[in-house]
Amino acid sequence: MTTSGLKIAQGRSGEVCVVTLTGRIDNSNAKDVISELDTLIGSGEKNILLDLAGVLYLTSAAFRALLVATDQAERNAARLALCSVTGHVRDLFEMGGLLDSFTILGSRDEALAQLS
């Protein structure tokens, strides 16, 4: 049996919409991330925090999805930030040369404190 490999959960902390990604983000499911963020931005969310603590790995398809969403957020005067980017996942951002291309905050608590 195959699995989608990725779980997307949504929550809220004050003004911030928190999207928790768990599993793997690759070419088979990156479109689900784009679609989720597209819907949120389209619905008028202005503060979106993506929590990557549960991400095992991501591939270039995920980077593309995050760049598309970041661009869309900017065009809608919304803010999209990432948190809990650590370990291997952080290494992959670095290998992709993308650590400076996103708003990457610390832990979820630190990120919420900064965004609220």
Partner: protein, 146 residues
């Protein structure tokens, strides 16, 4: 019926993958299982998951610009302290080692959306070989561990 048909020998796994991104999860699950069975370190399994996603998705998207149904072969072999990934397709000639490095942009500027996949692969493996044999592209990637 599973889209992938494993033919397992002692320490290698051969999979036939269709030119359909929907086949990627089965490839991913097969490598997860095989890597764990062969006691490949978890970090190495993960690094090669990224590599497999990049290499296989490139073939699925670009090897057959005319479209239609095609298959390609992925062979995963675990030897002493190394994993070898061999990917063979009969699509248009393409040496992925020639993919240009990603475009660098000044801080604060928006980077290009794509062009990072092979750049990641280069950093995640120890050897990256390619040859065109007859009508086939053969990519061989080696990652050492231990």
């Amino acid at each position: 019926m599973s889209p992938l048909s494993p033919q397992r020998t002692v320490r290698s796994l051969e999979l036939t993958v269709r030119n359909d991104l929907a086949d990627l999860p089965a490839l991913r699950d097969a490598w997860d299982r095989f890597g764990a069975e062969q006691q490949v370190p978890k970090r190495v399994v993960i690094d090669l998951q990224v590599v497999l996603d990049e290499v296989a998705s490139n073939i699925i998207k670009y090897a057959w610009p005319e479209g239609g149904f095609h298959n390609f072969m992925v062979r995963l072999s675990v030897g002493d302290g190394a994993v070898e990934v061999e990917v063979i397709d009969d699509g248009r000639p393409y040496d992925p080692r020639e993919a240009p490095p990603p475009v660098q942009v000044a801080p604060g500027c928006t980077p290009p959306l794509g062009g990072r996949g092979i750049h990641l692969v280069r950093q995640l493996v120890d050897r990256f070989d390619y040859e065109r044999t007859g009508a086939e592209n053969r990519v061989r990637l080696t990652k050492r561990f231990g």
